[in-house]
């Protein structure tokens, strides 16, 4: 059987996505063709080249990097070295940047998911005045470009004495991540078996118990999707960090990398391992949770 994934345009049916298992073997009904293999092979090669180039370059000696192409490196496999990585992690602030990125990303991934789940829970399971208005208002905010809100947000954080601090950027990322979190939770909660929750209510469970004992354990797929989404978004973010975290000591990898590239005083033997090191964690998470990432994209439009 072919999968029944739906585009975002067909929203009502989307909720199935989370529960459907991936059918890996399905191919087009007309079957495979040699030409398809060749064209796709070429495209995949092109798409892989930039990442591969960065990785190979990052493990080449400085002298080689600036005189010969990375593709010649395979001729001298013995010259590959980790020296660049050692240099980059111990100097140039990349090691600190890595820690800062972690310190920003972990709470900024956890908080919006928690706050979003708390809000999506009554919206999905109970009826009360203002429910729809609040839901639609929060979801609509997903569209607002961050550039439109960042200047006043910076002023608000200044008034709270939180600009340039980690809690400041946690709050900002939490707010910016909320619309997507609430949207995906709402979509997911809508497909949970409501009879279970009714039964729990009859048994005398209060809403807090239902949330912690019943709803949360069932929400693992959507939690995984949101965690990977939000983590990639925060870890890779440059704009918010640049503006809200206007504090050189606390700046994450992206900001440091960007200023390294701008200053041009550090050579490419610094740039390439620094860039690859910054990609390492997202790539690992991405490869491990790709399934959930894809489901997340399908279940709700990605934020920008």
């Amino acid at each position: 059987m072919r999968r029944e994934y739906q585009g975002i345009s067909e929203l009502p049916k989307q909720k199935r996505i989370f529960l459907k298992e991936k059918d890996k073997t399905s191919t087009h009904p007309i079957g495979i063709s040699l030409l398809s293999n060749i064209i796709l092979g070429l495209i995949v090669l092109v798409w892989l080249t930039p990442t591969l180039m960065l990785f190979i370059s990052s493990i080449r000696p400085v002298s080689d990097m600036m005189t010969s192409g990375w593709w010649t490196a395979f001729l001298y496999p013995s010259r590959f070295t980790l020296k660049n990585y050692i240099e980059v992690l111990t100097s140039k602030g990349i090691g600190t940047g890595f820690i800062n990125s972690l310190l920003i990303s972990i709470p900024a991934t956890f908080l919006p998911i928690l706050v979003g789940a708390l809000a999506a829970y009554p919206i999905s399971f109970y009826k009360f005045p203002g429910r729809k208005l609040i839901f639609i208002t929060i979801i609509a905010m997903q569209i607002v470009p961050l550039q439109t809100v960042l200047i006043p947000v910076l002023m608000i954080l200044k008034r709270l004495n939180l600009n340039g601090t980690f809690p400041g950027i946690w709050l900002a990322h939490t707010a910016f991540g909320l619309p997507l979190c609430i949207y995906l939770f709402r979509n997911f909660f809508a497909q949970l078996p409501y009879s279970l929750i009714e039964a729990a209510k009859i048994d005398g469970a209060n809403s807090f118990q239902i949330f912690t004992i019943l709803v949360t354990p069932m929400s693992k797929p959507v939690l995984a999707s949101l965690a990977i989404f939000q983590f990639l978004w925060v870890w890779n973010d440059l704009l918010v960090a640049l503006i809200i975290l206007n504090n050189p000591a606390a700046s994450p990898l992206t900001v440091r990398l960007s200023s390294l590239l701008g200053s041009l005083d550090s050579g490419w033997h610094i740039m390439t391992p620094a860039a690859f090191a910054s990609m390492l964690l997202p790539l690992i998470f991405f490869l491990a949770f790709q399934k959930y990432f894809v489901r997340g994209i399908l279940a709700g439009s990605i934020k920008g």
Binding site: Y5, I30, S33, I39, G116, A119, G130, L257, S258, F286
Partner: protein
Amino acid sequence: MGQPIFIGHLPEGSEFMKSLIAKYIRKKRLGWLEYYLWMAPAIILTLFFLVIPTLQTFGLSLKEEVTFSEREFSQGFINELAVESGAEIGRNDLIQEVSGWESVVNGALNKYKVRIASDDINEEMTVKDTVELLTATIYQARQARDGGLQFCGFKNYRRMFKDNAMLTAFRNNLIWLLFFTTLTVIFGLLIAALADRVKWSTLAKTIIFLPMAISGTASAVIWNFMYFKDVNTGTVNALLNLVYSLLQKLNLITGGNFEGIAFLGRPDLVNIALIAAGVWMQVGFSTVIFSAALKSVPTELIEMAHLEGANSLQIFFKIEIPIIQSTIVLVITQMIMWVLKVFDIIYTLTQGGPFNSSEVIANRIYMTAFNQNNFQYASAMAVILFLAVIPVLFINIRNLAYEESVRE
């Protein structure tokens, strides 16, 4: 939920309220008040970090910094002193020796609606000292009154149309809109369709999706290296060189060696070079969605067409594309949103250069706000950006309202 905490937070002496709430809780009738407690963090954060800031940006865009020229003020002040006293006045004359000085000072104070203490101007002060005191007072008062801002109508918006960097940014966003959107849709469709027809589609898609996990900053590093002008180290130029020398060998072109192209240094090529990097980053997104949409095309339909003798291309263009039409529209709107906000890769790769030729709105906003410290002008640009996404906002809300109506 945590009712005891709730009760504890009530002020002392409201025993009646406490017992009332306790009664409601016992009966599990806290009702919608409880639901609002669940949503409170989300509501507060959305309000203070999204809703109010959006409105503030609108407000800020209609203001400008108060222009107060100290030089003009001091010139005017001295002129008035001269008129009042009927004598030539120098900056170093003692102020109180000028006849009629009090009325001139009071005139200035009234004009700018500020006050100073009566003994602030003493007999030792010169005209220059007085001007300095007055300017400092006026400046402070303005800052305190409304952050040194005054309403200026649509001045910031009109300014954009005379600002060459901003006009280039508008043009470039349009170029991005056209080429980036077209390329991501075509490549996304192509890859999704091809992946359907090979046995290693999981691997292929993983590689295509991979750049989505890479930050704009790291992508900028990658593409800076890819676009090196040197034909020995720059990957793109090395490939071009390969083609060039091949053509040379076949005597199709004559002339010297290939010199390499500085993609990021040439105003005519920089946008296309950046768009290519953007497509590399974002094609995974359209592939994900198209791939799922193509899988949802009914198998029977395709098999039937196949039996009728339609070939693969005909099936793709005549059956599959029309069926996933709405998904294509959706991907286009998503890509438009991405393009309007594109920032990281441009900020890191070119900073809008060379000579502003790769400027985009998002980069202008950042530069105007944080390099030129003009938050008001930057806000006006941000409002334009916001207005550009409004149509997408409406499509989304309509979809959402439809979804809600289906659900209930």
